[in-house]
């Protein structure tokens, strides 16, 4: 699966994509492949104010649980409820299945993250 160029990436394998005045956040194909079949996505605290790099939720596969992190500082404004009943959506379409939406403290913070080429080079 080739890396979409319409978004940015973190070293902890999240992607972040602008949608209006918020950002969608999910995990990369690389991450879902390493995790295996996902069975639980949750612990996303809507309303929480997070700093960049703080845990924002959990994805759990048959193998193990893995924290997902806020790529930028901001407020969690939504959790993708579809993932409650169908966590496998992330395995199937990692770049469509957003996990949470974040209203960034400063939208410019995203500029400091990796683009597709940099993420690909690092992984």
């Amino acid at each position: 699966m080739s890396l979409p160029t319409d978004r940015k990436y973190t070293s902890s394998h999240e992607w972040i994509k602008a949608e209006g005045d918020v950002f969608l956040v999910g995990i990369t194909d690389n991450a879902q492949d390493q995790l295996g079949d996902l069975v639980f996505v949750g612990e996303v605290d809507v309303g929480a104010q997070l700093n960049a790099g703080e845990p924002a939720g959990v994805v759990e596969s048959v193998k193990a649980a893995s924290d997902i992190y806020a790529p930028v500082a901001g407020e969690i404004v939504a959790f993708n409820e579809e993932l409650e009943s169908n966590p496998a959506l992330i395995n199937e379409k990692p770049y469509d299945a957003w996990i949470f939406k974040i209203k960034a403290k400063s939208a410019a913070d995203v500029n400091g993250l990796m683009d597709a080429a940099a993420y690909a080079a690092a992984n």
Partner: protein, 366 residues
């Protein structure tokens, strides 16, 4: 520098089929071939197969084999009177702790086959030889690393095996569960398994196993990895050595009292004195999480009678909820509720009897 991992004769087949492999007890084994959840469903609904060649078949033969086995293991091989009949047992240390769990097949008074776990195989053979020597038993203990093993499981499994190997049908068609047939060419076909479904575990010379595997694939049997093996055995209420019990755990702390035969008071099998004199039993039961989340080994459990521990846990593909086994205070019963500590939060769970799933169907619980 670590020693390199061992490979079974089917390693190349697994890689060619896209397996992701993992170190399991020193063996490079497939954990899945793409989706362990789909592999799990294939076994419950149709047929799937597991390379279990990392496990060890051991021949136990000689005039003293019968007496040796009655000393060595906690279950009583005197129960086995029909050639091919097998039993499941623990082998205990003198403190009554479990050295390994295993299956023993009877073929004749002087001819037996024992199948042990991969990670404990060397330990088990050394232990068996020590006991044989100490008791001066007239027995030959022969590890059979020249043999490989495939477990074909599911409602369609036996039919697929006969389609791939018509010559085996006559000898294996009438096998009752927990019985095997020894066929020409060092082949053992046994109606056993670790999934809660019907099927065969097939032992063949290592040189023949790749052809068998390919022929089963051609019949539509789905290769399945260790990931599915774990979710299947957990749903089926079957213990995993090293997780549900180990050398520090006695059978009555791991739900294995039923595998210990005390009927013959004169049979002083190893560990018998300890389990009779120093028993601290536990209630070993199932847990079903009542909210979203996944239980894992070692998570703490709070009950009305004190603390317990999850020994095995997973997300059940068949049930869509997390299930597990737990060692709990005696007096806790199926139907009770408990709390399981998952990443710092106490999540409610229901105590259940085992198994959770049998023959493809979820067992009704109180």
């Amino acid at each position: 520098m670590s020693a390199s991992l061992q490979r079974t004769p089917l390693y190349d087949e697994h890689i060619a089929a896209g397996a992701r492999t993992v170190d399991f007890g020193g063996w490079d084994m497939p954990v899945h071939y793409g989706s362990q959840i789909e592999e799990h469903h294939a076994v419950r609904q149709a047929s799937g197969m597991f390379d279990v060649s990392h496990m060890l078949n051991v021949d136990v033969k000689g005039a003293g084999a019968y007496d040796f086995l009655r000393k060595l293991i906690a279950n009583d091989v005197a129960k086995l009177t029909v050639p091919g009949k097998a039993l499941y047992s623990c082998m205990l240390n003198p403190q009554g702790g479990v050295v390994d769990d295993l299956i023993v097949y009877f073929f004749a008074r002087d001819t037996w086959r024992v199948v042990v776990n991969a990670g404990t195989a060397d330990k088990d053979v050394a232990w068996m030889r020590r006991i044989a020597a100490a008791g001066k038993f007239d027995v030959a203990i022969t590890p059979r690393r020249d043999l490989a093993m495939v477990a074909v499981q599911g409602p369609e499994a036996r039919a697929k095996v006969w389609a791939a190997r018509p010559a085996w049908k006559a000898a294996s068609e009438a096998l009752a569960p927990f019985s095997g047939a020894m066929l020409d060419g060092d082949v053992l076909v046994a109606r056993t398994g670790y999934t809660g479904e019907d099927g065969f575990e097939i032992v063949v010379p290592a040189t023949d196993v790749a052809a068998l595997w390919r022929d089963l694939v051609a019949q539509g049997v789905r290769p399945c990895g260790l990931g599915a093996r774990d979710t299947l055995r957990l749903e089926a209420g079957m213990n995993l050595y090293g997780q549900d019990m180990d050398e520090l755990i006695q059978p009555d702390q791991a739900g294995l009292t039923w595998t210990v035969s005390s009927k013959d008071a004169a049979r002083r099998f190893i560990g018998r004195d300890a389990i009779e004199q120093f028993s601290t039993p536990a209630a070993f039961l199932g847990l079903k999480l009542l909210e979203r989340g996944v239980m894992r080994s070692h998570m703490k459990v709070q009950t009305s009678l004190g603390e317990g521990e999850v020994t095995s846990g997973t997300m059940s593909p068949t049930m869509g909820v997390s299930v597990g086994f737990a060692r709990l205070p005696v007096g806790i019963k199926p139907g009770d509720t408990a709390l399981v500590e998952i990443r710092g939060k106490w999540i409610p769970a229901q105590v259940c009897k085992l198994p959770f799933v049998r023959n493809g169907k979820v067992v009704e619980h109180a």
